[in-house]
Amino acid sequence: MMVDNILIDVLKKPEIMEGLSREQWNTCLREAKMSGLAGRLSYDARDIGIIEKLPAKVQDIFSSYDYNSASSTRKIKWEINRVKRALKGSDEKVVLLKGGAYIEKGMSCTVGRVSVDLDILIARNRIDWAEDIFLKAGWRHQVINDYDQKFYREYSHELPPLVHPDRYISIDVHHNILPTTSKLCPDVTKMIETSVKMENGFYVFSNEDIILHSIVHQFQDGEVRSSLRNLIEQHDMYKEFGKDEGFWQKLIPRAIELGFTRALYYSIHFAKNIFGTAIPDHIIADIKPYGPNIITGAIMKFMVMGVISPNLGAKGIARWASMNGLYIRSHWLRMPPVLLARHLTIKFFRKFQADD
């Protein structure tokens, strides 16, 4: 599965940035911006010491994204600090998810990364308590539409997002990593149990669970726009976590335990084929039985390749089909058909309301 895509080439081999033509730069930067990866390229160029050899305009554009990612990291750290303050005095186990965890752990995939919100996870029976604490500490509900509020509370895996009016970073307080209506909704207490305490008192998932969360988010939960970013993060994680042999031993059994084997198959398959990620042979052999049948696999490949590169295949019907196909698929996995039909109908008609 070879992909003719300049951004992927550059992500794999940053040194080729030195030789890009102006047209190639434009394609590469456009895709990088749309995939949220411009900051990453900038970091890579600096990391291998070629930044000063790049066209002045490229350096200039990169410096904008450097400020962006530095500021995002700073804001997330500060928000973590504010959450800590709000929770002062409680010994509740609070798990940082996604960007917050990556930053707190200092993981390699955070370079040049922008996080727009902070995700935390807390036991389901403590969710009202947490909401109360945050509202008292000054956070406000971001979603005030009644339908949305109700939908979040009844069917989703998180509180409606809360935002502090002084800081504009929203915090998503989860009680699970997937909607409770989802066919794949795991027993999250298992993930909370094995989470690891950090110096600042927050918890993060074990390495296996961190990557499985990223994977399930991308391949089941329809993170369509940032597909490529998610995939390269997984690539980084395989590399970083994979140095520890224990990680490989635990990965597949853990995916079986949580019910994420199909998603793990896709992640390994696409990371290896697109980025050439080093995956041990025994892992590839062991995950293979969990792959899809030929037809599903082909459809999935078509859709994933269609969205992975914002402009690959231009704005054609293939991209449209991929975007919408994955959107519908993610919703299909998220909730039962009747609920899904109702939800999409309401969302559809809301498009026509001027004030939304």
Binding site: N26, M34, A56, K57, Q59, D60, Y67, S71
Partner: protein
């Protein structure tokens, strides 16, 4: 850091003949220079192209391939929206979530797209929500909220001999400490449209030529765009250090007056006006501190454009030697 292009508007858009211009703008787009940015502009609607050229016809374009800061396209999202009930959608390639507008007012979509690109994709310059003008080594920043009349004031000054940097995006080069001109369509809303038409007509018989048609029914009421003065477009790369900060307050029932404010207050007002202060962080703080240290500062309260321009010029004349800045902290 950015390299100012060396050519001086030899490649103006208007030098291309009409059919060529139309073909390129509606085909792959034209890469042009807008202040410090290189932008590829593609417009699928004829009326929007006409309005666009009214404003940008004297802007330089690139004939050779160039690394672009931004690409912007205005188009109908499908055949129905392109031809039958035309609706202008703007794609900034920066994940914008803009509502399409009727194609008749597609120029508003285009300008909103430009705004989005600079607001989201330009963190390398310190940005002020402010009108900025310059003249003879004087760099004047006028930070203000929407509705304070800063666009009208900046445009008003620019048609009285000042160089228009921008009517709403003041950009500062953090390394050089210089204001970077970013002249674009001046966005006039509602009552300010007749005011500016009258103002420009005092200087130019062909004043209508500077304005696009008025676009009624936008989320901000009626909008009309004004082309910056020719000289400001010519001098798009002439930078100036800031040395005056004037906070404009429009009040139709007031007596015109200059109100002194402390430098501390001016500092906080400039911080509050900066859209990316928090993103840039420490360098933004020190840059604003330096600007305030080197600037004369005041508030002006004015009932009309005439009085505003008089107040600005009076305050500047009073402190005409910028080197004396910093001596009269309130």
């Amino acid at each position: 850091m950015p390299v100012a292009s060396r050519f001086h508007n030899e490649n103006k858009l208007v030098k291309l003949n009409d059919s060529e211009l139309d073909k390129r703008l509606s085909g792959d787009g034209i890469a042009m220079e807008v202040g410090p940015f290189s932008v590829n502009v593609l417009i699928k609607f004829k009326n929007v192209r006409e309005d666009f050229l009214k404003i940008y016809r004297d802007f330089p374009f690139y004939d050779e391939p160039i690394v672009l800061d931004h690409s912007i396209s205005v188009f109908g999202r499908n055949l129905f929206r392109q031809y039958l009930r035309p609706q202008a959608f703007v794609e900034t390639e920066m994940n914008n979530d803009t509502i399409p507008l009727p194609a008749k007012i597609g120029m508003v979509s285009l300008e909103m797209g430009f705004n989005w690109q600079v607001a989201m994709g330009c963190k390398q310059y310190l940005m002020f929500h402010a009108g900025v003008v310059a003249r003879d080594g004087i760099g004047l920043i006028m930070p203000a909220m929407s509705g304070s009349g800063k666009s009208t004031l900046a445009a008003g000054l620019s048609f009285r001999g000042w160089q228009l940097h921008s009517d709403e995006f003041g950009l500062l080069d953090l390394d050089a400490g210089e204001l970077i001109p970013y002249p674009r369509a001046v966005s006039l809303k509602n009552q300010s449209i007749p005011v500016m038409k009258e103002w420009v007509s005092r200087e130019h018989d062909n004043y209508e030529d500077y304005f696009t048609p008025a676009y009624p029914g936008t989320p901000k009421g009626t909008i009309c765009y004004l082309r910056p003065p020719d000289q400001s477009i010519e001098e798009m790369h002439k930078r100036t250090k800031p040395n005056f900060v004037i906070l404009p307050i429009f009040d139709p029932n007031s007596e015109p007056k200059i109100r002194p404010i402390t430098k501390t207050m001016a500092f906080f007002r400039l911080v509050a006006s900066s859209a990316n202060y928090g993103d840039i962080g420490e360098r933004a703080f020190s840059s604003i501190a330096k600007i305030i240290e080197e600037s004369f500062v005041c508030e002006i309260i004015y009932p009309s454009l005439d009085t505003a321009v008089e107040l600005v010029e009076a305050f500047i004349a009073e402190h005409s030697d910028p080197k004396k800045a910093g001596q009269d902290d309130g």
